[in-house]
Symmetry: C2
Subunit: 335 residues, 2 copies
Amino acid sequence: MTTLKTKKVDLKVERDFALLNISTLDELKIKHSANVKVKSDTGEIMCEVIATEDLIEPGFVGLKDGTLDLLKVAENKKVSVFVRRRPASIDFVKNKKQGSIWKEGEIRSIVNDICSGQYTDLEISMFTLAQYYLGLNMDEIQYLTTFMAEYGTTLNFGEPVYDKHSIGGIPGNKVSLVIVPTVAAAGLLIPKTSSRAITSPSGTADTMEVLCDVNFSADEILEIAPKTRGMLVWGGTLDLSPLDEIVIHKVEQPLGIDPHSQMLASIFSKKVSTGVDHMVLDIPTGEGTKMPTKEDAINYAHEATELGRRLGIQIEAALSYGEQPLGTAIVPALE
Amino acid sequence: MTTLKTKKVDLKVERDFALLNISTLDELKIKHSANVKVKSDTGEIMCEVIATEDLIEPGFVGLKDGTLDLLKVAENKKVSVFVRRRPASIDFVKNKKQGSIWKEGEIRSIVNDICSGQYTDLEISMFTLAQYYLGLNMDEIQYLTTFMAEYGTTLNFGEPVYDKHSIGGIPGNKVSLVIVPTVAAAGLLIPKTSSRAITSPSGTADTMEVLCDVNFSADEILEIAPKTRGMLVWGGTLDLSPLDEIVIHKVEQPLGIDPHSQMLASIFSKKVSTGVDHMVLDIPTGEGTKMPTKEDAINYAHEATELGRRLGIQIEAALSYGEQPLGTAIVPALE
C-alpha cells in the first residue's frame, strides 16, 4: 500500500485507470499491466494501471474525472493505492463445467464481487461466457436474479405491485401507454419502469418521454406512484440491477451476445427490485421477432412463468402476433 | 479513414493504443471505447482508442514506442487510421456450442485473424474460453495445431528430426541435457527447443544457459544443427507459434487457466514448426505433478500419440515417477 495525491488526467478511457509513475510501480512491486485498488475515505475502485515516466510525478496518482467523482475526492487529496487481491469467487467461475452447478453462496459472492468492482474486465467476460457457453439451470438463474436485485436499489411500496412486460423486438409497441393508466384507473398500483430503445426504433420510455418527463429518482417514484397509482418511468438511472449494467456494457454489447440465463436474470432482477407481485408477460412471436417459432415462445413463457413462481411473482404469459409493427406509426413522436 | 501524424507518447500500457484528440474521434465517427487500425507503409496494427482533449493535438495520433517499432515508423510521419471492421471469423467463435464442431476453414480463419491482430482482447478471451468451457475434439485440435504452426516460423532441415519432450512440472529435470548429446552422438538430428521456467524453478533452457548461450535465430539453428547434430536452444524468440504467445499472454496467464485443447495445440504446433518426425514423450506422474493419477497420464499419452499420428509425428510415450525432484540439486546453476 502507498499513499498518493490525486491528480486529474485528461485521458478518456472507458475503464477506471490509475496513471502512475514507473517509480511508484517499483514501490508497489507491480507490473504496468496490473490492477490496483484506489481507496478514498468514502469508497474504493479497482483501476487498471497505466505507467508513465513523464506524465505524472512520483507521489501522485492520475485519475479521470469519473473516477474522482466515484471516489468523491477532489484533486490534490490523499488516497491509498493497494495491489489488487484476486477475489476468491473467481475460482467458482473457473470451476464451472458442463453439468456442474453453481451453489447459492457461490453465485452470491460472484455477484457481490463483480458489483463492488473486484473483477477485471477479463474476469467479467469469463463469468458472462460461462453462461453463454454452458448455460445455467433454473436454480442458478433464480439465485442470480435474487442477488442481482439485492445488490441494487429496491423499491418497497408496502402493497401489491402490478406490472406488464413485453420482451419487445417489434416497432410501434406502445401498449404500455394504454395499459398503465387502465390498470391505475382500476385502483391497482403499477409503477412501470421501461427501457429506452434496444432493438426497436423507440423504447417505451422514449415514446412516453414525448408526452412527459420519464426521469425520476427512487424516492420520487415511492412518493408519486402510490398517489397516482400508475407511473411510466425510465429504469436506466435507478440502478435496479448494477450487475446487469456492468455485464451489458463490458461484455454483451462489445461481443454482441446475450446469454439466455443472463437475459432472464436481467428482466426479473428489475421486477424483484421494484417489488412486482403480479405481471402480464407479452411475447411477440413470428418471423423477425425475438421468438421466431411458436415453440421458442412457448418455452420462453414456461421458463419465465416458472422463474416468476420461484420469485413470488404471479405471471400470465400471452403470445402475440409480432410479424408487423403495432399501430400505424413508428418512432417516438409519431407514435 | 483519416491521415494523421505520429507522435510518441509516454504511456506504458500492455495493449497497443492510439491516443486521439476527441475531434479526431468525431471525424472518424467513433466512440472513445472503439478500436482502430493504424496503418503504415509496412504494416498495420489494431489499437485501442484513448481519447484526450489536451494531451494530443488534432491531426496527430499518439502511439507508444512498441507500436511505432511494429509499424516501422518514426515520429512525425504519416499513418492512416481506420475504423476497425469486425472480422467475420468472430461469428465462428460466437456460434460454438456444446456438441458443435469448428470446421477446418473456420479454425484457419480464426487463427489467421487473431495472429494478424484483428481481434480485440475480449474477442481473444471468447475464443480461449470457448475451448476452456466446451473443449475441442481431436479433429479441431489437429486443425488448430496445424494452422498455429503454419502462421509462425517454420524450420525445414530436409532430413528426419528427432525430439524429446517432457510435459514438465517437477523440479530438477535436466534429462534433456543428457539426451540431446546422446542422440546427436548416434548421428540423429535433434535440434531441441526448450522453454524457460513455467511451473518448475528452472526450465531446460535456463539450465542449459548456465553452460552456454541458448539464444539463436532460426537461420542460425538451420545452419548449426545439421553440423553439430544436436542443439539445445530457447524457443521463446523464434516465433514458432504466434497464436500461442498471444493467448498465453492475454488470457491464460491473467485468468490462470490452461484449456486442455490449447495446451496440446501449443506443444504440438511447435513440434510441427521445427519439423519433428520422431519424438519421445515423458509424462511425469504422481502426486504434485501435472498428472496426479495414472489414468490422467495414460489418457494424456493416448491423446498425444493420436495427435502426433495425425500430424506425422511418431511418438513413444513414457510415464515416469514424478513425486520427487530429479537429481540432488534444484535451480539452474546448481543443477
